[in-house]
Structure formats: structure tokens, C-alpha cells
Amino acid sequence: MDPRVYESDTRPDWCPGCGDFGVLAALKNALITLQIPPERVFISSGIGCSSNLPGYIRTYAHHGLHGRPLPVAVGVKVANPNLVVIAAAGDGDEYGIGFNHVVHTARRNHDVKLIVMNNEVYGLTTGQLSPTSKKGQRTKTSPDGSIIYPLNPLSTLLGVGATFVARGFSGDPKHLSMLIQEAIKHRGFALVDVISPCVTWHDIYDEVRQKMYKLEDVGHDPSDLVAALHRAQEVDKIPLGLFYRSEEKPTFEELVSSEVTATIPVESVRNLSEQEFAKAIEPFQ
């Protein structure tokens, strides 16, 4: 496959150095590596710096509302299970206003992949506290340092029973591409939390580089839920890699398709036949 098929003529408007460049690169790389043609990819994003991503990679996409990438993605996937459906958005989008969708999409095990560009801040709205902002973090909304405990999305999603939980770093696009590939190959919902620093409002590149390590380097077993939880709750160090994966649960789309007469494709629109119709109104007589 020509690696240029994903190129867009629109240049990212991110600040120079923004972590999201790394995510974009990793995503492109993952899709090309997996040899997925671009027309089979659907990216659903929200509102935020990170959510501007769709225009920079040439696939089908929806650049929608703050917090709602997942429900749109779910609708797309349920309607057309042949598509590779990816939701890509910020920590405000997914861990703040839209987190309930994350929980329920994970619980139902929809076959969509969620990439969260987590910069611990609301980038686009000029740097206010996000749900993952650390205690003590100074922003316009916390001039004396935040008093609020951050959300731990990974341990929460493990508590939910999500079937794939990983964390990457935009500063290591190769590793991130590998995680995204695994996520796409996973049968079911996958969360790839990406530490994607905001160089303008909350530059944590150095901190991350100091604290990070790879789970695969320490022999972490991604089928061990308790170990995954412990890793997810580390604060002094930042583990990267695949925390947890389980492929036991069928996906929502598999289950719903088995329910529905698969002979009627979702995009085919046709009238009911006279017989079908007559049968349908029978109970009303």
C-alpha cells in the first residue's frame, strides 16, 4: 500500500512541539502497517486541540461535539461493522464531559478503539484544569494550585471490565503505533491513553521522560488484572504499554448482528413486501 494514501493537504494547526503530532504519526503508521485502506477507516473526534486530528489524516471522519466521539463511533460501527472505527479525542472530551460514554462503551464491549490524547489540561480553551490535572497544578482556574484529585482513567476502566487497556506516549510514536495496532487487532473495545503533552499550557515532556518505563520491559503479564490495577495506580513512575487485554467477551456488534437478520444490509433501504407488512400489522387487528 502506498504510504501516502493517508496524507492530507491540510496542515495541523497545533503548536510546534505539541504532543498530538506524535499521535498523528503513530496512527498513520499503524494503519499503514496493518494495510488498512483509508476508506475503511472512520475516525470520530470531539472538540479540543486533539480533536482537530481527523482533517490531518485522510479517512472518513466526524469532527463532532465535545465529549461525544464515542456515541457517534458506536453508531457508525453498529451500522457498518466492516469499518475500522476509531474515536480520537482529548482528556477533557473523554475523561471529563464524555466519560460516561467511555464507561458504557467499554462495558458493552463495542468494537471501537479509543485514543485519548491526554495532556492533563484543556488545551484549546487556554489551559484550564482537566479531570486528569494533578493536585497542585496551577492554571487559570486554579491560580493557587488545584485542590482536586485527578481521575485515574486506567484503573477506572479496569474496574469497569474493559477488555483492552493501554498507555502510550506521544514522544515515542513507534511504541505508540505498536499499541494502536494491537488495539485495532483486538476484538472489542480498546482504550489507548496517550500522554501527549501540551507544550503551551502544561509541558510535562521532561517529567514523563524521567518517570516512564515500559511494561514489556518489566515482564508485566497483560492477562493479570490485579497486576494491571497495581501498575495503573503507580504515581511515582509512569508505566507505558499494554496493561490488560482479554478476548473472552464477544463484541456488541457480534451479538447484535447475530440477533438481526443479517441478510438485510443496514445501508440498503427497501420497502417491506406486502406479506411482511401484512404480518406486521396482524397484532393490531
Partner: protein, 608 residues
């Protein structure tokens, strides 16, 4: 007419005795009991019996938001020719509880009947010229069951006996209704027969002519809309339960397999509408439904669909608000919300079917409009015709024309080299061809930010630059111009009654039905009145102004406090309606109320 000033004191006008014409071609039955007594099921049995006797029906469910206790009632209006609404008064009252007697006895018509069991219900103030049928309903029921749950079956048998209906049909319908409970199927039929036998001691009471060869279809607008949607190719349905929209969900869930509908139960209404938009983008004809509170939550996403030009059909089955309000009661209070959905201006279509039949037809139209013009279409139903009221439906035509609008199936050869698809191409009619994900070479971003023809942002690096400002204006115009196309498809109100009249009632949606019955009565009384029934609401149909100006005098009848339709009419035409009958207490409009309002008005005073 400042909204602060419209305070309309409606009266509950239920007490009347007027149907003393025993030969009239219709009959009204009211069954009253407590929640949990199975009155809904009893009402359905009666409705079915009538429908299989060739009668036309229209019913109303006076239910409450509770599972057991309280007071619930079921009203059936049946006629040899078309009936529309609750009819006039009560011909047959079945009062299974004291409350049922107390609440309804005074509304029984001259020549009517009250069926009750004096071992449970104490009669008082028994109306003159009403036949008293004190029946041992409980005693008979206890013959078959330890709890007297079966007493409504006995009452149905008795009622059908008085009405002179064939018992075979009664037995058949009861058997059918209980077919999932074989243990009580037979005993219920027996109990009904006992009631039927008991009726024989009464002389001639009001009966109709039956035609058992006719098997009419009846349903409420929720089911009719769901059926219409599936018949028009609906392939995705999403919902979060909310009365009175839930029957659509239940029907879809039960029929999903058969019709290839993917049913998605969202975690909230926001997920529901966004998933519907996603499915629509993916190419499915997609639908969701809710009631007012859920719709409030959907608003942001409806603006999104308008901006991304994604076809979307949303049903709002209205109930009495505001806020939680009266969840099991009816209203037409959501029109203003639909005129002001979400922030800033975007195109939308608002349709308000008047009846289940209308709802069936509207489903296909809604999908066609949504797909042809790529915008949100809102369908307003309400409890009175939705969950709350069955009506006979005729001539449902499953061959609904399917118009999907401009869809590009294949990319031009030069589209495969790194070019984006011009999803938002500027066109004369404002509609741009769309492509379905999966099609090679036609990639685009559906964009809620203001965008150029390719769906690229105008909102960031380009914002405010002269070219971007110009494109912004063009895209805004393009979206709004689509309404001109829609407007050509909008129907003016239907005129019910004579073309010329001394008084014209302006009404919309389900309120049209009680108005029809009121008009028929008024014609009989020699009044020259007609009505304009609005069902295509927005974009406001053309030529309405001249219709309104031709009318001698106008009176607005609708079910909300601020006369929302009248305000829309004034906004769009300048015509000020000065007479109103507004009802906002949650109860359905009774035809007699409209009759009285018209008479008072014609007698010179204000009919409110």
C-alpha cells in the same frame, strides 16, 4: 398578546348529558379501576372486539405513573363510521372501584348505563335516565380465581352482552389476549360468559350494527410511526426509555430481528442521538425517539446534525411538562422548543401528524426529507395519539416511495490521489452530494466547525480572513437555502368542514381530532364552522396568510399555555388570533369543550 397575559382558566367540562339519541351510530365506554387491576388489558380487549365487529375506534388511556393502586381508566369510542376522538360523554361506565364511580358517574349520558358491583362500590347520586346494572362481578370472578382479578373479564362479558355483541367473538378475543397464559385462558372465557349471561335480564340498551366480516386495524401513533419507519427502510433505532415514547422502543426491540433493525439502547439521550447520527452517516436510515426531557438533552447534537448535514429523524412524543411535569398526561407544549433548538440558526423540519394514520405516512416522508435535504427532521407526536390512544387505521400503504437524495456511489478517477471529497460543495439548492464511508476515494470530514467545501475548518487558522468570512457566509446560506426546497414540500393546513364558515378553528397535530368531533356536533346544531388543521409546521407552509385572512373569525385550539402555534402564526403571518381554547392541565381535549367554547364565542363572549 403578551405571553405573560394569557392565563386561560379552562374548566373541566365533563358533566353533560346530551347523547339521549339512542339510535346514534356511535358508543362510548369507560372502564375505571385501580392500577394493577388490568384495566389497560381490558380496554384493549374491548377495543379489539369492537374492531372485529367492523366498528371504527378511538381510545384514551387515563393512566397514572404508578404500577398498583390509584385510579386509572380506559375510554373507548366506537362508531359505525369514522370516529376521531373521545366522543361525547359516557354511554357505558364500568366502575370497578369506588373512585371510578365517584370520578365518572356524573359524565354518563342520558340513556347510558353504569355497571358496578355493589359489594365493592357504593352508588350515590345515581343519574336520572341511566340504567343501573349492579352485577356480582367479584362473586363470579371468585368462582374462577382466588383473587378477584378476573372481575374485569366478567364486566367485559356483561358489557358485550348489553351491547348485543356475538359471544363467539368475545370469547375468541379473550382467548387470544391470554394465549401466553394458558392456565387462565379458559377460565377467563368462562368468566366472561357468566357476565354475558347475566346481561340478558336487561332490556334494550344502546347498541350498534355490527359487521363481523370486517376486521379493522387499530394502533396508536407510536406503533404506527415505528411501522411506517420500518416500512420506509429504517435500519437503526436508538432510544433511552421515556414515556410516552417507549412503545416505539418496545416495538422495535420485538421486531428487530424480523426487519433487520439494529436496536441500540444508549446510556442516555445524548448517546442515543449521537449514535443515530453516526449510523446515519454510515448510510443507515436511522431514527431515535424520546419525550421532552430527553429531547432537551439531544438539542446540542441536533445542531450538530444540521451543521454536518447528516440526515436525522427524531420523534418527540410530547407529554405534559414543564420539567418532569405529568409524565402520563398529554400536552402539545414542545413546539416552541422545536423552533429554538440549540444555539444559532440552522435548518430543521417540524412535522406534527394528527393521528396514527398520519403518523404512519409521516415516517416515510420524514426519512425522505431528512435524506433529500440532509437535515434534522423533528416529528411531534403526543401522549393522546401516541402511547395513550389507539385509533382505527385504514389504507396504510407499505409502498412508501424512497427518496435518498444525492448519494455518490463511486469516485471520479481523479479522486484517488490524495484529494478530499467536496462533501460541502456549494450548489444551487444548497444540497451537496454525500458519500457513504467505505466508498473508495470519497473521504471527507463531517464537521461541526464552520468549514469549506471539503469540510476543512474555517474556524481556526482561517477564521476572520476575508476569504474564510466569505466562505462562512456561503456555507451558512447554503444550509439555510435548503429550507426553500423543503418549503415547497410543506402542506398548508387541511380544511375540515365547509370552505366558508362563520368561525374557523385553527389547530394542529392531535388537537385536530377532538375539534373534528366538535365540528360534526356543531354542524348538527346548525353552526357554520370549520377548522384548519396544521400538520406541516416548519418551514411554515406558504400561502397560509391568505387562508387565514379569508377566514371570518379565528379561534385557536391547542394544548399548551402560551398558544405556541398561534404565536408561530403571528410571527410568520402577522395574523393575530384573538379567541382561544387552550388546555394545559394534562387531560385530553373533550369535543364538548370545543363545542362549548365555540358556542360561547359565537354568543359573543370569549370562549376561554
Amino acid at each position: 398578546m403578551s405571553s405573560a397575559n394569557i392565563v386561560v382558566e379552562t374548566n373541566i367540562i365533563l358533566a353533560y348529558k346530551m347523547s339521549d339519541d339512542e339510535s346514534s351510530k356511535d358508543v362510548t365506554v369507560r372502564l375505571g379501576a385501580a392500577a394493577g387491576d388490568g384495566i389497560q388489558s381490558a380496554g384493549e380487549i374491548v377495543t379489539k372486539i369492537f374492531s372485529r365487529s367492523g366498528l371504527y375506534v378511538s381510545t384514551y388511556n387515563g393512566n397514572q405513573s404508578l404500577i398498583r393502586g390509584g385510579h386509572v381508566w380506559f375510554h373507548v369510542h366506537a362508531g359505525e363510521s369514522r370516529v376521531y376522538s373521545l366522543g361525547f360523554g359516557i354511554d357505558y361506565l364500568v366502575a370497578l372501584t369506588q373512585l371510578a364511580y365517584d370520578e365518572h358517574y356524573m359524565n354518563v349520558n342520558r340513556g347510558g348505563v353504569i355497571i358496578y358491583d355493589s359489594s365493592v362500590v357504593k352508588e350515590h347520586d345515581f343519574p336520572d335516565h341511566v340504567t343501573k346494572v349492579d352485577a356480582p362481578l367479584t362473586k363470579i370472578a371468585l368462582k374462577y380465581e382466588k383473587r378477584p382479578i378476573m372481575k374485569n373479564t366478567v364486566a367485559i362479558g356483561l358489557l358485550c352482552g348489553l351491547l348485543g355483541l356475538d359471544f363467539k367473538l368475545v370469547g375468541d378475543v379473550i382467548s387470544e389476549q391470554f394465549f401466553r397464559k394458558p392456565d387462565v385462558q379458559k377460565s377467563n372465557v368462562e368468566a366472561a360468559r357468566d357476565g354475558y349471561e347475566f346481561s340478558k335480564q336487561f332490556g334494550t340498551l344502546k347498541k350498534l350494527t355490527y359487521d363481523y366480516t370486517k376486521r379493522r386495524t387499530f394502533m396508536h401513533a407510536d406503533y404506527a410511526f415505528a411501522l411506517g419507519a420500518v416500512a420506509a427502510g429504517c435500519r437503526f433505532y436508538a432510544a433511552y426509555p421515556m414515556s410516552p415514547a417507549s412503545p416505539i422502543l418496545h416495538w422495535m426491540a420485538s421486531n428487530a430481528k424480523r426487519f433487520g433493525v439494529r436496536v441500540f439502547l444508549g446510556e442516555d439521550e445524548i448517546a442515543v442521538v449521537n449514535a443515530t447520527i453516526g449510523a446515519s452517516l454510515a448510510g443507515a436510515r436511522s431514527l431515535c425517539a424520546t419525550s421532552g426531557g430527553g429531547f432537551s438533552l439531544m438539542q446540542e447534537a441536533i445542531g450538530q446534525a444540521a451543521m454536518t448535514e447528516t440526515p436525522l429523524v427524531v420523534v418527540d412524543v410530547m407529554r405534559a411538562g414543564p420539567s418532569t411535569g405529568l409524565p402520563t398526561k398529554t400536552a402539545q407544549g414542545d413546539l416552541n422548543m422545536m423552533l429554538g433548538i440549540s444555539h444559532d440558526d440552522f435548518p430543521r423540519v417540524i412535522l406534527a401528524p394528527r393521528s396514527p394514520e398520519d403518523a404512519f405516512r409521516t415516517a416515510g416522508r420524514a426519512f425522505n426529507l431528512a435524506e433529500k435535504y440532509q437535515l434534522p427532521v423533528i416529528v411531534l407526536l403526543d401522549f393522546a395519539i401516541g402511547d395513550g390512544g389507539y385509533a382505527t387505521v385504514e389504507n396504510l400503504n407499505p409502498n412508501i416511495p424512497i427518496e435518498r437524495g444525492k448519494i455518490v456511489k463511486e469516485a471520479a478517477p481523479d479522486m484517488h490521489n490524495g484529494v478530499w471529497f467536496k462533501r460541502y460543495a456549494l450548489t444551487e439548492d444548497g444540497v451537496s452530494p454525500r458519500a457513504l464511508p467505505g466508498t473508495p476515494g470519497l473521504m471527507f470530514v463531517a464537521k461541526t466547525d464552520e468549514h469549506d467545501e471539503f469540510g476543512h475548518d474555517l474556524s481556526d487558522v482561517l477564521a476572520g480572513l476575508r476569504e474564510a468570512v466569505d466562505m462562512r457566509r456561503k456555507q451558512f446560506n447554503k444550509r439555510m437555502i435548503k429550507l426553500q426546497g423543503v418549503a415547497k414540500e410543506m402542506n398548508p393546513p387541511d380544511v375540515f368542514g365547509p370552505d366558508k364558515a362563520d368561525l374557523t378553528i385553527v389547530t394542529w397535530g392531535s388537537s385536530s381530532l377532538p375539534v373534528r368531533e366538535a365540528l360534526e356536533r356543531l354542524w348538527g346544531d346548525g353552526f357554520k364552522v370549520n377548522s384548519y388543521e396544521f400538520y406541516d409546521i416548519y418551514p411554515f407552509p406558504a400561502d397560509v396568510e391568505s387562508m387565514l385572512k379569508q377566514a371570518s373569525e379565528l379561534m385557536d385550539v391547542e394544548q399548551n399555555y402560551t398558544a405556541q402555534m398561534a404565536k408561530l402564526i403571528r410571527r410568520e403571518t402577522g395574523v393575530l388570533i384573538q379567541k382561544y381554547y387552550l388546555k394545559y392541565d394534562g387531560e385530553p381535549i373533550y369535543p364538548i369543550e370545543v363545542v362549548k367554547a365555540v358556542k360561547q364565542h359565537i354568543a359573543g363572549s370569549n370562549g376561554r
